[in-house]
């Protein structure tokens, strides 16, 4: 590991000033991803600015304004918060589906959003990787890719975004707040993660040196009827091979409002807007759910070993929406 300077920030302005414009500096939150990547040499910061003690550790809910989550709120505290469990249950389920109890206690909301892909080539310094070394190539396209992207990928990178939390946030129209030396800014989560294209090393639209300060979820009554489901290769403590956040408002058998987001199928949490459009105003039936999934997955481009994700996601859409419909009828 490269030697590094360490400074602890106590307020947001101070943190941003400490990091400055230094490309070799990183903010340190819980460290569950960054410290791991520093050990493996993927990340080699010369300076860490510890932001864990910043006063950004509150979760606040109002019926008019929705949910405000501070960037240093731990994953555990977010999942356990009564207002999150009551008004955005899929968010609690998504967070609890990720990592382990120990890691959720350490990991912050801001860091969760910025965690890096778990593609094995990205973390293996002996292999090329366009995300780690631009222009070096992507061995996953012809190599080990059974858990790689089927939507929005490119020939340059087929890695997936590993967060469960971000999938639920995407379904709920989250807005990311950040601070820079030039003042604060906001980014809808839909614009937060950049398209892969030929620049997979550029992952977010955050300005250089920006510090995430919080996440806002607008008030959305439909979110109270939401669920998250994760499919993985063992029962617990593993990254998803496919996941879904869904919220549904059904009245007299007609879909009034629906939210759908997919995880582990793209370089970012994937909002299934084509499926939402196909469903809204139509019947809440298994046939309609399957047709909507097909509308979304029409854009899927599979590789030899990840084609299973298309029927997997189709089945998840049908199963989740069917469950939510039955729940609404009770």
């Amino acid at each position: 590991m490269r030697e590094f300077d360490y400074e602890r920030a106590h307020d947001v302005t101070g943190a941003v000033a400490l990091l400055g414009a230094d490309p070799d500096a990183r903010y340190l939150g819980g460290g569950t991803n960054l410290v791991d990547l520093m050990k493996s040499g993927v990340e080699r910061p010369a300076r860490l600015v510890d932001v864990r003690e910043l006063p950004l550790d509150r979760v606040e809910f109002t019926r008019n304004d929705g949910l405000r989550i501070g960037a240093t709120v731990t994953n555990s505290d977010l999942a356990a918060h009564p207002d999150v469990r009551r008004h955005y249950p899929a968010l609690t389920q998504a967070v609890l589906a990720g990592a382990s109890g120990q890691l959720r206690n350490m990991a912050t909301v801001g860091g969760n959003l910025l965690q890096r892909t778990r593609c094995g080539y990205f973390t293996d310094l002996a292999k090329p990787c366009n995300k780690r070394v631009p222009g070096s190539g992507c061995p996953a396209v012809e190599g080990e890719h059974h858990n790689h992207a089927i939507l929005g990928a490119s020939a340059h990178c087929v890695a997936t975004h590993p967060s469960d939390m971000a999938v639920a946030l995407t379904a709920f129209d989250a807005v990311i707040s950040y601070e820079t030396a030039d003042g604060p800014g906001k980014l809808p989560l839909a614009e937060f993660y950049l398209p892969v294209g030929d620049t997979p090393h550029l992952e977010t639209a955050l300005p250089p040196g920006a510090l995430i300060t919080g996440v806002t979820l607008p008030a959305a009554p439909v979110a109270a009827r939401s669920r998250y489901r994760k499919v993985r290769e063992r029962a617990s403590y593993a990254f998803a091979i496919g996941s879904i956040a869904a919220a549904l408002d059904v009245h007299d058998g007609v879909v009034r409002e629906v939210r759908l987001a997919f995880g582990a199928v793209a370089s970012r949490p994937w909002r299934a807007r084509a499926a939402e459009r196909a469903l809204t105003g139509g019947p809440a039936s298994a046939e309609a759910f399957a047709a909507a999934a097909d509308a979304e997955l029409e854009a899927a481009r599979t590789l030899p070993h990840n084609g299973y994700k298309v029927p997997l996601m189709r089945n998840l859409v049908v199963a989740m929406l069917t469950e939510l419909t039955e729940e609404a009828a009770r």
């Binding site: 030697e3 602890r8 460290g31 410290v35 864990r52 999942a79 356990a80 469990r85 120990q102 350490m106």
Partner: protein, 200 residues
């Protein structure tokens, strides 16, 4: 609290004070030092074990401010100012903590290497459950649904961050269940003040 440049011998090391099991230890550390290595190599608290050293096995689990964490991904310098509890701080002198006693009585281990991490994790599982936290297998996470029973399924999910390569899981689940059942009667128990705060 925070390490200052005035106490740093270089910009890549600092003299820090760690609060471990109620004791204060002041030591210079290279910033690259993990809490795990500081505990084992510098403070001679070797009860905390190094397994994978990448946050995947849970052998290095300790309590930070009463909450379980993997010490291999925690930088020592960033742990300054926090209350650290290791397996050495769990018992009350010669009197074992009920979680330790349950692991002993029910053979919740084979080789024992993962056991300190299992026990620290189990302490926190019981506190988290008592605080009403749901888990990934909780059917209804809404607060109105109440606290889920600490069933074997719930225990397996909540303990999934601790691997046991001997495969003593059946006994581990039984030990955690027994310790959780007895936790109501631990009015004069030996829990550290930090873990009590976690339940508050």
């Amino acid at each position: 609290m925070a390490p200052t440049t005035s106490s740093a011998t270089t910009s890549t090391s600092s003299t820090i004070t760690l609060h471990v099991n109620g004791e204060k230890y002041t030591l210079p550390v290279d910033h690259r030092t993990t809490l795990l290595d500081a505990l084992r190599e510098r403070l001679d608290l070797t009860g905390t074990k190094k397994g994978c050293d990448q946050g995947q096995c849970g052998a290095c689990t300790v309590l930070l401010d009463g909450r379980r964490a993997v010490s291999c991904l925690q930088l020592a310098v960033a742990a300054e100012g926090r209350e650290i509890t290791t397996i050495e701080g769990v018992a009350d002198g010669e009197r074992l903590h009920p979680v330790q006693q349950a692991f002993l009585d029910l053979d919740g281990y084979q080789c024992g290497y993962c056991t300190p991490g299992q026990i620290c994790s189990a302490l926190a599982v019981i506190e988290e459950h008592a605080a009403g936290w749901p888990s990934a297998v909780t059917a209804d996470v809404r607060p109105e649904a109440g606290v889920p029973q600490l069933t074997p399924e719930e225990i397996r999910e909540r303990m999934s961050g601790n691997l046991c390569r001997c495969g003593a899981y059946v006994s581990i689940v039984q030990a955690v269940a027994r310790a959780a059942q007895s936790s109501d009667t631990r009015s004069s128990d030996t829990r550290s003040s930090e873990t009590k705060e976690a339940a508050a």
